[in-house]
Assembly symmetry: C2
Homo-oligomer: 190 residues x 2
DNA sequence: TCCACAAGTCTACAGTCGTATACTTCGCTT
DNA sequence: AAGCGAAGTATACGACTGTAGACTTGTGGA
């Protein structure tokens, strides 16, 4: 937090939350301690517990903002393939990544409580964006399949860093994704 | 270890390795301690370090056997969709799962050293099975794409436990996978 | 039978973890 | 200007971590 306002509860809370998103996404729930998070927020460790109850409480809010802030499934279905391909190729910082909710999931899924919190958030997220990605009946399954394809590509590229898929350029990747999606999403009516 | 042989170095080592596969797959590298692993192998904690150098050393061997024992990409390309669909639907114990290498990855990817060990193993695994899943030139990318699709479906079904995809039965899942794979793998020559 | 060496265990250490309790410091209101 | 409540800090505790070192126990060969 900046030295502008020195005793601003809301700002301090926000700073801790931001530091939490960064840290949990980068190192996972078990990979980072509250002391570390508090330090990068510029406050003492105990403020985490004061504002969020516990480390777990902070994580729950982190999951919430991480899932809702980003647009993984949202957007125009027509340009979905291009958008996803661009997001996969784009080289940004790990936490500014458009797909960082996946990263948060992967890094924290080992912890049972964290996994439970994440599952609830993802369910709500898929539910909320069904109509955007597959605006027809029985669209839930199709949205889930699209999400699965995206998640799989992301897994190999960003997490495993597979050299095979990393050699693929954006145009090729987009074409592959488009072909995959076309088998799922009918071009017109239904 | 059983009480048949009481001072068998090879058997003890194997018992620890088996316990390591089970524990790391279930709880991840950071989610389980050497004491716990040793206990479920029926030995004292220090034997882990004696036989594998360190916890990290044990994990490296666990990754090795987990990746090579299972057949994720191996098998007949013609029946790949059916096999994967069956594996996804099949209800087995978490560690007896045919796709447990993915589980090992997901649970341990947060730890930088563990992730590095896993990456090397996966690279070798994809490389070794390229000819089986996509026996043509530039097959590496196609094998990786198939792996990505599998990984994505697995991620949503087994890890997140998405209610959407969990409602899908094996036949529907197989049909979806087949359609996806057919856009990648030409039915004949090339 | 005995003993050397491998197999296995016990104890302890230095570190980190989450967080509860007690404390200090600042800012706003009156 | 005073003081009260909120904002923030310091300290410490108990539990847990990986593993180094010294120890004991068992077994195969002489």
């Amino acid at each position: 937090m900046s030295s502008a306002h020195r005793r601003d509860a809301a700002a301090t809370r926000a700073a801790i939350l931001r530091a939490g998103v960064e840290a949990f996404t980068r190192y996972g729930f078990d990979g980072v301690g509250v002391r570390e998070i508090a330090q990068s927020a510029g406050v003492s460790a105990m403020l985490v517990n004061r504002y969020f109850g516990s480390k777990e409480g902070l994580f729950a809010e982190v999951a919430e903002v991480s899932m809702t802030d980003r647009t993984v499934l949202g957007g125009d279905p027509a340009t979905l393939a291009r958008d996803i391909a661009a997001a996969l190729v784009r080289r940004t910082s790990p936490t500014a990544d458009d797909l960082s909710p996946f990263l948060l999931l992967l890094r924290s899924a080992a912890n049972p409580r964290a996994a439970e919190i994440l599952r609830e958030n993802i369910e709500r997220h898929v539910e909320a964006h069904v109509h955007e990605v597959a605006p027809d009946t029985r669209g839930t399954d199709r949205a889930a399949v699209v999400l699965a394809v995206i998640a799989g590509f992301w897994l190999l590229r960003k997490v495993i860093g597979s050299s095979a898929l990393n050699g693929t350029d954006e145009k090729t990747l987009e074409a592959t994704l488009r072909r995959l999606f076309e088998t799922l999403i009918p071009p017109a009516d239904g």
